[in-house]
């Protein structure tokens, strides 16, 4: 691909940048590990979207309405 192609130049910019990282490699490792724990473990197994089980906005609203009017002080 031509070195004058802007997309290729952007690609080279990032590729060279990542390749020449030193401390950055450790930091990227940490970022990826953190994101894996957050999304593949915590989000998946511990943080279900409670309102996500309702198919429609109306069903969500009905559920919350039920919750808000169900509490007896």
């Amino acid at each position: 691909m031509s070195g004058h192609n802007p997309i290729y130049r952007v690609y080279r910019f990032y590729a060279d940048g990542f390749r020449s990282m030193t401390l950055g490699r450790t930091l990227w490792g940490l970022i990826l590990l953190k994101l894996f724990i957050m999304f593949a473990v915590l989000r998946l197994f511990f943080f279900p979207d409670i309102l996500g089980q309702f198919k429609t906005e109306e069903a969500k609203s009905d559920h919350v309405l039920e919750q808000l009017t169900d509490i007896q002080p």
């Binding site: 940048g17 309102l51 808000l68």
Partner: protein
Amino acid sequence: MEVNDFMSVVDWSRAQFAMTAIYHWLFVPLTLGLGFIIAFMETIYYKTGDEFWKRTTKFWMRLFGINFAIGVATGIILEFEFGTNWSNYSHFVGDIFGAPLAIEGIMAFFMESTFIAIMFFGWNKVSKGFHLAATWLTAIGANLSALWILVANAWMQYPAGTAFSVETARNEMTSFWDVLLSPVAIDKFLHTTTSGYVLASVFVVGVSAWFLLRRRDRRMARCSMVIASVFGLVSAVFLAFTGDSSGVDIARTQPMKLAAMEAHYDGEHGAPLVAFGILRPEAGRTNNDDAFYWKIQIPKLLSVMSFHDADAFVPGINDLLDGNPEQGILSTREKIDRGRVAIGELAVYRDAKQRGDTAAMQAVIGKFDASTAEGRTFLDEYYRYFGYGYLSSPGQTVPDVPLVFYSFRVMVGAGIYFIALFAVLLVLLYRRTIEHRRWLLWVTLWSIPLAYIASQAGWIVAEVGRQPWVVQNLLPTVAAVSRIDAGSVMVTFFIFVALFTTLLIAEVMIMTRQIRIGPDKPEKK
């Protein structure tokens, strides 16, 4: 279902959210302020072409990168918690929270990720001017990201620009500009971001002091100290002004928070400010006279701070609980009764919907309609106290007074100390005698943890001070929480403690190693 059934879920969910937010806020403020300090340094490099400034910029940029990489995405966990632990709240706040967070996500992704890449990868690959622009845009982008988060938080403290829809059981935005430009949002943004500038400045002068103590890279340390001290001094003075206007906001919109901040039990005209005092245990605190073992007061200052009027009436905790007809303050018991009327109407709507009784549904919708006289009356007299209806006793509206009182004094005391520290450092830097004052260099170094403590204390004042409200007067924590198992929240609490503590240890270790390595050495010609 009884309120007490939820208490352990509420407590664990609150603890988890508080812990996550505290850790998240350990990383954010340094990013907010250090971005600008780096931009100032690179601007000097751009203007002078002196390679020393390039090396100095790159050194601090490396520390910025470490903090950014370890802190990035820690805030996403808060959004997980909204969806799981606080689902009623997530729905209730509707697009008020959704819109700012969506803007923040898009802005953060495109601005920060694009320009940070240029900042780190772009040396010698893009022009000096373009690189400088990327550095400035990274700093501005980080602060704009904070803007949207703080706008959402400010709305919770002062819900402006919205209307409650009975049909969707959520608040809907009626004016984007009222949400964005509410006085509470403006003050919160300015006060919070500026506190980040002060923290970053303390960080830079503290690390620079370490170099001077080690007699290493002295020019870099002195020059960094000058920039950070000027930036820190200007920011700290501005912080005091935004703190003052925040105080006026709180007096107007969250009087119980103000009363708790001051341990102010009995309202009075020309109220004094307790500069410092030692509180008695809760059972012994019933009025202004018996609240403290001892205290130092400044006459009339609380009235001045709250209303910019030395003789203004500042309501106390007792006025807010028992009511004060002379000052037009309703008792909390009356607010609870009115809140229950509003919740009752919502229950009428729910039952009518289940029966398919359209006429009854429309009647309730009409009561919540701000475009009619009947609706405005109902909203003003009943719905504005909606959240009180979930409370079982007036005492539940009083936050933890000692925690808020002492945190406020830590925050303010540290702020005053930082103004003095930056001023003294600047004088000694000007006289070129800073390196002879080794005790001051040690004090400066050990001021770094104080900046973090003060920053966290500020959030404690803001967030503990508004308890029990998630949304001021409209939604207490007990109604906002999801009906989930407290055990699972407890488990994830400890997982987060482990995860965040590991991240924090990693940050400190990598950061201190890079500080010891120091800036790049000048290239030999």
